[in-house]
């Protein structure tokens, strides 16, 4: 019995909620990228926005399949969490690398601030953490993930 079997509806709703949040924030970032509107929490970048929208769709797709009675719907929660985790790790690595440039006092990084690196893909992961935790807990992440 999988975690999804034990509490399908709750998990399904969680997957839908995370998916909608990603789609909304990603959509806002996508639109901001086109109209040139910037806020510190949702900067404009149409491609990064599109990436978040796709991740949101993966999460939401799981809920749709759960409603249809598909036993394997939690695969979408797992992949959504994995993609959200990859994007989070990517932004974290970029933040650390740029932070290093700022610490070393390189010219191009003198005006670098933590806030400008605070991309939605970074902070949005907080809502995806429970899904990522459940995925990792359920499947032994050893060398082989069979």
């Amino acid at each position: 019995m999988t975690v999804a079997d034990k509490n399908s509806t709750g998990l399904g709703l969680y997957s839908l909620a995370v998916g909608l949040i990603y789609v909304l924030v990603g959509g806002a970032q996508f639109v901001n990228g086109f109209i040139g509107y910037e806020t510190w929490i949702v900067p404009g970048d149409w491609f990064q926005g599109l990436v978040l929208v796709i991740i949101g769709l993966v999460f939401s797709w799981g809920y749709v399949l759960m409603r249809k009675g598909d036993q394997e719907w939690d695969s979408y929660l797992a992949i959504g969490s994995l993609l959200a985790g990859i994007i989070f790790a990517l932004y974290l690595f970029m933040m650390l690398a740029n932070g290093l440039g700022w610490m070393l006092g390189f010219e191009d990084w003198l005006e670098w601030t933590f806030i400008e690196q605070f991309q939605p893909g970074l902070w949005l992961f907080t809502v995806a953490i429970p899904g990522a935790y459940l995925t990792m807990k359920e499947h032994a992440w050893n060398r082989s993930v069979s």
Binding site: L57, I87, F93, N98, L104
Partner: protein, 442 residues
């Protein structure tokens, strides 16, 4: 084979594979006791990653993440390498202060050339690390599977996508990998479409121009270059199938490996195996290229041109000037023209040659110098031309040996120049029309 096909009513290769797996299934049925385990985690991942609608968008996300990882995060490491090389070059330049020509050769030629090319080790190694992760996890094979549906609609063999993915590293092993494609027509299509896949050697050019002309959007601009290369490769394959290699592609049979969490040791090893090729090239061809380029830029028919000379009267300037009229519609001046000629040896030499030309002219900060001379539209056209025109001399040699035909090699070279020119001209015209044709207009 025709008789077998008539008897079986299916493609023989598919029928044999099906029979073979049925036999394996029967044997397992007899000697294994099954317990109900449901789908494995690998099966579950495949359900999403191979999804008809989500498969390709997820593939694009992962490739985009790969370029963000290798480009946006490598800037600081590039500056560290560049600072170290400039400092060492200045030190040796001081030691040779009594001899102007020797000091210029060491400082502007050798260390100047290295300072412009070796920093690109950072994005190249990071990109190879990312590729190793995708490969070791078992995802790369799925990418070929996902793209097969799209490629097959265009009449292209799904297996073509595997050499295409290898081409992101280097086109030479990728072209050689086309040997694994069974049908002769499919193999030729794979070989002739592979050079448009953007290899690691083109990356330094993109990094330099994207950072100078499109600050804040480097990752997305470079990602667009890779997607454009992929699109041109697929278009070329489609065109070849419709014209010169008519027929149906052979069936695509591939065993998907199980997913694995890549280990750091294996990934670093794979990254090193690929990255060291660039390092060796820097120590041999790029070193030699730096000396030739320095000589051609510091000397002209009038002899040594002195400190901070007018490079347009040097041998490099004369050579670039000869082809400049051809490239004028793309906004290229003699410097970009000369860079294109030298880049035929290896694409990274474009950066090295621009670095040496600008260093000899007294501009050390090449990015700023380029942005002060060219418009973003010219920069984009140059990146596109570098992406699509003749692959390096070694790749041309590999095409010759793999096709065993001068005719197809020549076809590949001429076709690549035409398609590069046409697409670069279109991009230049479109970007100029939206106001990016002015210097400093990004």
């Amino acid at each position: 084979m025709k008789r077998v096909k008539a008897v079986l009513g299916d493609d023989p290769e598919l029928a044999f594979a099906e029979k073979r797996y049925n036999m394996i299934g029967d044997i397992l049925e007899e000697c294994l006791t099954k317990t109900e385990t449901g789908m494995t985690f690998s099966d579950k991942l495949d359900k999403v990653l191979l999804n008809k609608y989500l498969g390709i968008p997820i593939f694009l996300i992962l490739v985009w993440a790969l370029f963000q990882f290798s480009i946006e995060a490598s800037g600081v490491f590039m500056v560290i390498i560049e600072t170290a090389l400039v400092t060492i070059g200045a030190f040796f330049g001081t030691l040779l202060a009594g001899n102007e020509i020797a000091a210029s050769l060491v400082q502007d030629g050798i260390f100047g050339g290295f300072a412009f090319i070796l920093p690109f080790l950072a994005p190249i190694f990071l990109m190879f690390l990312g590729i190793a992760w995708l490969e070791d996890s078992g995802y790369f094979a799925r990418a070929a599977f996902v793209m097969d549906k799209l490629l097959r609609k265009l009449g292209v063999h799904g297996k073509t996508f595997i050499p295409m993915m290898l081409g992101f590293g280097c086109n030479i092993p990728a072209i050689m990998a086309c040997r694994s494609i069974e049908g002769e027509k499919d193999r030729m299509i794979s070989i002739l479409s592979n050079p448009y896949i953007s290899c690691g050697a083109r990356l330094p050019v993109y990094v330099l121009f994207a950072a100078a002309f499109f600050p804040g959007f480097e990752g997305s601009v470079i990602f667009s270059m890779y997607i454009l290369g992929l699109a041109v490769a697929i278009f070329t394959a489609w065109l070849l199938r419709k014209t010169l290699f008519k027929g149906e592609p052979e069936p695509f049979i591939m065993e998907l490996p199980i997913y694995r969490v890549p280990t750091l040791r294996e990934s670093v090893l794979h990254m090193w195996e690929r990255g060291v090729v660039f390092l060796k090239k820097a120590g041999t061809w790029l070193f030699l290229g730096a000396i030739i380029l320095w000589f051609m830029s510091a000397f002209g028919p009038a002899g040594y041109l002195g400190i901070d000379p007018d490079v347009s009267v040097s041998y490099t300037g004369i050579l670039g000037g000869l082809i400049q009229p051809i490239f004028a519609p793309l906004g290229f001046d003699w410097r970009l023209g000369a860079a294109l000629i030298f880049a035929f040896l290896a694409k990274e030499i474009a950066v090295e040659s621009l670095g040496i030309i600008f260093a000899i002219e007294g501009d050390i900060a090449i990015g700023g110098a380029l942005a002060g001379v060219f418009s973003p539209a010219t920069a984009a056209a140059f990146m596109i031309f570098i992406l699509l025109y003749i692959p390096c001399v070694a790749a041309v040699g590999t095409i010759k040996s793999e096709t065993n035909s001068w005719k197809w090699t020549l076809f590949s070279v001429v076709y690549s120049i035409i398609i590069a020119y046409v697409i670069a001209a279109i991009a230049f015209a479109l970007l100029s029309a939206i106001g990016l044709g002015v210097i400093g207009g990004a």
